[in-house]
Symmetry: C4
Subunit: 371 residues, 4 copies
């Protein structure tokens, strides 16, 4: 993996937007990691649609508003954050940077936002927490077949100071990302799965010739496809942390989430990596927002690349968005510095977009900003 | 034709989806056969639209459903099948594989589904039946100008153990598939039309210089463009087999099919090979389903390539779909094994799609799965 | 110009559809003539839209209709024609074939349909009439600034046996076809404007360096941009021939045409050669048909290339369509034979499309054939 | 910068439309200037949409109207102009031509229309005025942080004979035009900002290494992002000139503009250079026109390239349109002559389009001209 200790690579010629970094990352990452991170399931239609959904919207800026003083600050789950963009949970940051999730944690902290740490991190959740102890972090949870292991993960997250459990609900099985399968994802010897015992990492290595990715093999063995709404009570009881359900695309599921005591949902199709042909997150957002009413906070991820994307999502009712792959691209190109730079470029864009739209805070971004 | 006795060709580098096989088949087949199988009529707009219609749909997966135990089993015409995908009737499998329809029959049987055998098979219907005597098969019937020949075909099919007659109703004349015409379809010397006397095969050879395909010549001489709804009673009387009308795109025609005692219709435009510019099968499906009510089973074909396509068709009311060209591509690349592999890849995709959509059986796939 | 006396060039490899001929004509014609015939005005958006409008329609074929016996015959202005496709008026056939409009006249006659002869023909209207005296022909009239010349043209047309006057109403000025302007249209020395005195042809040659096409120069001098609805009475009085107004795209104009005693309108944008950005003819058709009621026959031209296009136009209410450029392509490639071949290919396609749609005559093609 | 004293470059091979000049300008301009003029903000979606919005409209020409005598004349703000196209305010003409805005002023005067002179002109507003003293000119005003400077600019404009103040309201901050940023806009030594003291130009030069364009640096320091509707009264009081608000896209903002005494609004997104993803100007036009009623004149800019574009904008309710970049392209290729040529080509196209649409004046262009 690229060394994160090295000084930031000379930037690509024109690193002037948060989208630039994808090309740079394609060059910096080894082929396997690139395809693992980049690919979507099936024909990658949902991957493309996530982006296209943003491009279909048009903004109607308001003029002659005093926008000299602006604030991007907002709250998520009642917790103040610097701006309405969080870092989405993603597995295996170690494929992008030798400091693994610690680099991302420091970048997120520097940029005053929340990092969601994946069950499938290379460092342990305690190590990631320790990397940025003053910053808010949430723990993403895959419910394990072994309910004891699940309970232990939740308890460890609470003990370490995580502020929410993000339960992924769109992955009873792992989606088939053909790009990743073709390039045979496997863990390099120096990396493990930090939240599990070392033999689990070894087990993944053992699957490397199975014709599928070792992650899919791991996932099939460990993750539980039988979780239902009736398990939410049990999940709530595992820790005092609020539950965020990630992967909700239907209004009826959002209502059920509220009924079962979830604090928030993330409208998400897992970055186009689970059900092939699933609706774009942004297209699913308005109906979920309507169904949530004021009982749930609604976040979204999938396709966010530019500052105006954030405005569009807010205008459709999202409280905040989660940024995924671009953070990995920054990490791949320049480690902690690179990840922070991507976040900074996006934050500057959100700020400029807010001003040019005639708003001075996220709260002023309402539906009538859309044509 | 490629020898089916040979071991399965080394697969193309990434045979990880049922769509891959088209490129491999283009390499394996001789030019004439490739164009005969691949081409659509006119500008091939309907051929493309069949596929595009699926790509316009978006899925709304349901989360937190226990999908650990799933079954793809369903019934068609009351007969249990392993999964809701049948093999569509297609002519001249011998152009793809020296074992002709016998290879396909064994592949379909291995994959626990129904093979529809074409009137224009290279082997006789009895030979195809004998290749997989335990599996269900349907016989596709072109009504012949010689009504005696027609009656004999129906009687033979019933006697051989076929379970339905699939009467093609969209081909009073053969559509003009320009790709095929350009490449001059003709039967190679070692192949005949198994359901007809040898001189019919010879007659086709005699037409090979007519500037049109020999199949079109054969078709014009033998098939009957004067069949009407009033002949359905006669057709029903030819055998005890239920009638399936293949090629219905209009709701009024579906209602009439029910009135005349058909058991099912296949919403189909003949793979884009008959009327140029005909509506995509999938786009025609909902109105036919509504017209059919509970009086007819509604199947469809045209454009099915991925597991999520099957979900979309079921969500729009199809009881099952028929898979066409991909089976031939598998046959061309690897004979029986290749055809079975294509079916297996698709079945795995249907299974995964079902799980990721939050369903455990075809019956749970309802319209509200579509955005 | 290519010699029409030469035997038909060996056809392009796959002359199996009426659209093939465009590429062949591009090779056969000199650059100036090719661009003159091919080009549309402005950005050629209307030229493309004429075609795209057909491609947006989908057909819903009817099945189990006895289509063994079919007839393409219909009537236009009460006159029987072999099939619902006429040859559109086009200027300067001599640029495509040394026999000029006489070749086209014989081809149209051979294919049992009407030729519309342009005011700007290279042969005189009497010469064209004499080339196919038994076939029906219509005379297209540009109203001339010199009303005496206009009256004389109408009288000559009636005397020569033309059966209708097609008055072009969409060309008060000549549209700017940039492709043609770039390639400097001028009449070669051996060609004249057959309906005018020789010095008019000489005048066109004199304009050849004007930076615009010589045709535009001729047109500006001779054609009358001040013609209005109030002149229709005068036009009707010039001859006993029925008036057909070509270039009507608006329903209010169609109603006015009926009020003023026109017998028919041609829904047309002049092949995308007049107002840049004008609506596609096919898209304008339904409203004109509705406005015409049973007071006018409605024809259309623009974008017809395939047999199913003709069905679509009939389904939207056209009595018949006019075929333009493809006839010139045939003429350029093979003179009379080539033009007739293009018409024959299209007629065969109309016949096949009719059968596959479940119709036995143009009268059975109704709106419900469209999805 | 290209010398404007040189004779007009030999024109590109086919200078027969107003859009041709873009390619020629790309060759004539240095890279920095080309990207500064050409680029839009963000992904340039709005830049493209401005154009695409025109291409979505279709015209329904009226026939048999006497169009022999036509007039393009109209009025804006009660002032007669030769045709309904004005020259949009644009900064830094000196990057295109050594005569700077004086060349543009003479070209606009020659073509009988209004030039809008930018606050950020290279010549002073008095110099531009003196270049064409008989022609109408408007002064575009960026409200400066220093309200005294703002008042002085307004007073100078009134004293110099400008006829309106065009207050830009869509630029509280400068949009991020990534193309321009990449190519590092800076003023060459021989150019200054004519309306400001020389040290302001020097200040811009000092910023040239700041990683952003020097214009953005200048803008951030001098322009005032705190201007609101409440400042309009003050702006009105600075001079007797009527106020035109440029950059209004919302109907509520248009109503407010009328309430606050503006004389006109320009529906504009600043040529796609301010808020990325803003609605296309043409798409925003109809709602603004409806909101304006008869209280405001409504102009528009963004994407106008062809004569039929002007008709479309008028049909949607614009009183006139502003032409931007094409004038710079003409200037870059041929100085005053080149700019006038672009305007002349467009005027000829408007005239022809009017005639072919069946109109004899801008007043006759109404909504029913659109399909």
């Amino acid at each position: 993996p690229p060394s994160c200790a090295r000084p930031l690579d000379p930037p690509p010629p024109h690193p002037n937007n948060p989208a630039y970094s994808e090309r740079a990352a394609a060059a910096a990452l080894d082929t396997m990691a690139w395809h693992y991170f980049r690919s979507g399931s099936g024909d990658e239609r949902t991957l493309r649609e996530n982006r296209a959904a943003f491009e279909r919207h048009r903004l109607l800026p308001r003029v002659l508003v005093d926008v000299e003083r602006r604030s991007l600050a907002t709250t998520v789950l009642g917790r103040p954050v610097g701006w309405p963009v969080l870092v989405a949970p993603m597995a295996l940051h170690g494929l992008a940077c030798s400091d693994c999730e610690a680099a991302t944690a420091r970048a997120a902290a520097a940029m005053d936002t929340v990092l969601c740490v994946s069950t499938l991190s290379n460092l342990s959740l305690e190590q990631v927490r320790a990397a940025a102890p003053a910053a808010p972090q949430w723990f993403q949870l895959y419910v394990q077949r072994d309910r004891g292991v699940t309970a232990e993960l939740a308890a460890r997250a609470a003990a370490a100071g995580y502020e929410a459990l993000v339960v992924t609900v769109d992955a009873p099985l792992l989606g088939r990302r053909e790009g990743a399968v073709r390039h045979g994802l496997r863990l390099p010897p120096h990396l493990g799965l930090g939240n599990f015992s070392p033999d689990v990492g070894a087990a993944m290595l053992a699957h490397r010739n199975a014709g599928d990715s070792s992650l899919a093999a791991h996932f099939a063995v460990t993750s539980d496809p039988s979780v239902t709404w009736r398990d939410l009570g049990w999940l709530r009881g595992l820790s005092p942390l609020p539950l965020v359900l990630k992967g909700v695309l239907r209004p009826d599921d959002a209502r059920r989430a509220a009924d079962e005591g979830a604090a928030a949902v993330v409208v998400s199709n897992h970055g186009g990596r689970q059900l092939a042909g699933a609706v774009a997150s942004l297209d699913a957002l308005p109906a979920v927002v309507a169904a949530a009413g004021n009982r749930l906070e609604v976040l979204m991820d999938g396709g966010v690349r530019r500052g105006t994307d954030v405005l569009i999502a807010l205008a459709l009712g999202a409280r905040a968005v989660l940024l995924g792959r671009p953070v990995l691209w920054g990490l791949a190109v320049g480690g902690e510095t690179g990840a922070a730079r991507v976040l900074e470029l996006l934050r500057d864009e959100v700020d400029l977009a807010l001003a040019l739209a005639g708003c001075t805070s996220p709260a002023e971004v309402r539906t009538d900003l859309l044509a």
